[in-house]
């Protein structure tokens, strides 16, 4: 790794655009929101105002956000995102593997087949899922055709998790593909040649070597799941609010932006914790990121 001082021109050329963009179009707007999270609605003429705030006046929003309802919703989001992430990983890993080890002619086509559905808008896809899972949907029509019992999964937890997997699977497939694709196959050959079994080779060679892709995939799936609200909103039933729905509600119906901002920052801190754990894990296991 080079020291930046030795290549100042290259360093600044590479760093400036991204940093500029982040500062202006992310940090400054988030700063607005951060200030808002410590604000309260102003009292104008003895009435709580709709638009005016007392900026930087209170921490009540954070105190309120630690209430039991919000912790339950946060816990729910963590649990379901974890399940959705694990399911995605279990599906995506063998798939990415199959794509990478298929013939060069087929590889782009197979990869495309896996990615293509995700180019269709999330709302459209979710709506398509509804059409399949609903009471008179395709799934039940097919089951009815074979005289099998009908299911009623739409508007429930399993529908939400299926929806999350359906929506975020490509975020798992792409980094895995990108890592497995550049995996030096001679390591696998060496392992097999030296007498290790296929499972042994997988656990001792393949998996460790592709760990960066696995971790990236987990992060890319888990984090958007954690803050998602559209999937639970459209596929969930009465017990399916996640923390994202609560935040959405504060910016919508409840019209309590300061509180919504505080909830958002709490969600962000929860995510930072996840990233921190990830950093600890990678440091201990291999230091691939260093």
């Amino acid at each position: 790794m080079d020291n930046w001082k030795d290549f100042r021109k290259v360093f600044f050329t590479l760093m400036t655009p991204g940093t500029f963009w982040m500062l202006f179009f992310f940090v400054v707007p988030m700063g607005f929101l951060f200030v808002l999270s410590f604000s309260s609605k102003a009292i104008v003429n003895g009435e709580t105002s709709i638009l005016d705030y007392n900026y930087f006046s209170t921490i009540t929003n954070y105190v309120d956000a630690a209430g039991s309802s919000y912790l339950v919703l946060l816990g729910r989001a963590v649990l379901w995102s974890a399940i959705a992430t694990v399911v995605s990983l279990l599906l995506a890993y063998p798939l990415a593997f199959a794509v990478c080890f298929s013939s060069p002619k087929w590889r782009p086509i197979l990869l495309l087949l896996l990615i293509l559905p995700f180019w269709i808008n999330l709302l459209i896809r979710t709506y398509a899922l509804i059409q399949v899972m609903r009471t008179n949907g395709f799934l039940n029509q097919a089951l009815g055709f074979f005289h099998l019992p009908q299911t009623d999964i739409l508007f429930g937890t399993s529908a939400v998790i299926m929806g999350l997997v359906y929506v975020y699977l490509p975020f798992m497939v792409l980094p895995l593909y990108s890592t497995i694709e550049k995996l030096d196959k001679s390591y696998l050959e060496a392992s097999l040649d030296l007498g290790a079994s296929q499972p042994r080779t997988f656990w001792s060679v393949t998996l460790p070597l592709t760990m960066p892709g696995v971790i990236t995939g987990i992060i890319l799936v888990f984090i958007p799941c954690l803050g998602s609200f559209l999937t639970s909103d459209l596929l969930g039933g009465p017990n399916n609010w996640m923390i994202g729905n609560a935040i959405q509600n504060q910016f919508g119906e409840a019209n309590n932006w300061p509180f919504g901002a505080a909830l958002s920052f709490i969600l962000m801190y929860a995510t930072f914790f996840v990233l921190f754990v990830r950093a600890m894990l990678t440091r201990r296991s291999k230091g691939v990121d260093a």
Partner: protein, 357 residues
């Protein structure tokens, strides 16, 4: 303008997606006084040809965007009006929007067709003198149901909240406003109650009802009913009337529960900061014209407060009790009110607790 638009069409047609971004087609004229209008409306809430009729009558090019709920409209304008002229908020949002300076006063002299509105709609508690909003459509809130799945007419909110008859086949609107409204009416209280004890009881009832309710829906209960996902749903009268009309097997019905319900009014208003206020006034006047109003009603089937428009409709519409309920039924329906920020906040905390329970 049309020419430019069709250029864009051909561009897409010929060059495909990848090329769209690089060709800078001049899309907007920079004229100072534009013949343009931006309407922000609910979906399926205007006549099929209303905008085109307006354009050919006035030469003003009208464009419409859709929102899905009053909250969405409110949130959008709160961040700064991005260019909307005419908006269609519900009555209980008017007071809130006026307080938030989101609406522009309407110059009644420029909207002579206000005279077409029924007397009772010429004034309102939520907007004294109708300075900011004009009545567009009105209706009730009640239960839509599938006749073949109902033993008797489901004319009570109890069937939706604390009765196992339709367990797992129920949808109610999933917002604090409607959730609490329904629960409060079930318990015999006012739709707009802010009393902590009453709301507490409503909260307990709603938590208990979650085992029976299939979904806290958006404004799509009528679709869930029509497609057979639920057998009873709490919805706006007009939405149910639309699916009843479309249902060829005549299996759907609407009823206002005997405990009473909610009565609402949607309004047309001009957003503060509207780029084309003159055109907006012309549009308001246009849709309040009898014939134009009747054309809208023919498409959407809601109850119109416009006497001139109603006069042009057939008897089937005028005598439809789902659209125009009896005076006794209406007396049981509370108009939705703006409750103030503190009460809204309190209700919302309870609503979140219900979701997390």
């Amino acid at each position: 303008m049309n020419n430019l638009k069709s250029n864009r069409r051909q561009l897409l047609k010929g060059a495909g997606a990848a090329m769209v971004g690089i060709t800078l087609m001049p899309y907007k004229s920079m004229a100072a006084e534009e013949k343009k209008l931006n309407v922000y409306n609910w979906d399926t809430y205007i006549g099929e040809t209303t905008l085109a009729d307006f354009s050919s009558a006035t030469g003003i090019e009208a464009k419409m965007d859709l929102f899905g709920s009053n909250d969405e409209l409110f949130a959008k304008l709160k961040a700064g009006n991005p260019g909307y002229d005419v908006i269609v908020p519900s009555s209980n949002y008017i007071e809130r929007m006026v307080k938030a300076n989101m609406l522009m006063p309407i110059d009644h002299a420029k909207v002579p067709n206000i005279a077409n509105l029924d007397k009772e709609f010429q004034d309102a508690d939520f907007d004294p003198g109708r300075k900011y909003s004009l009545a567009y459509m009105w209706g009730t809130f009640g239960i839509g149901y599938r006749k073949s799945k109902a033993k008797a007419t489901p004319d009570s909110w109890h069937l939706l909240l604390d009765d196992p008859t339709y367990a797992g086949r129920i949808s109610i609107q999933g917002t604090a406003e409607f959730g609490f409204g329904i629960a409060l009416k079930t318990l015999g209280y006012n739709w707009n109650s802010t009393d902590a004890t009453e709301l507490g009881k409503a909260k307990d009832l709603l938590i208990a009802s979650k085992k029976n309710i299939k979904i806290f829906a958006k404004d799509n209960g009528q679709d869930l009913l029509a497609s057979g996902d639920v057998d009873v749903c709490a919805e706006y009268s007009g939405d149910i009337v639309q699916v009843i009309k479309a249902d060829t097997s005549n299996d759907l019905g609407y009823v206002i529960p005997k405990e009473g319900s909610n009565r609402w009014q949607d309004t047309v208003a001009i957003a503060a900061g509207a780029p084309h206020p003159e055109n907006a006034h012309a549009f308001l006047n246009f849709i309040l014209d009898g014939q134009n109003n009747a054309n809208i009603v023919k498409t959407i089937g809601y109850a119109t407060p416009n006497a001139a428009g109603r006069a042009l409709m057939d008897d089937e519409y005028k005598n439809n009790h789902n659209i125009f309920p009896s005076a006794e039924q209406l007396a049981l329906c509370d108009p939705g009110k703006y409750l103030g920020e503190d009460a809204t906040k309190y209700r919302d905390e309870l609503w979140t607790a219900i979701q997390a329970a």
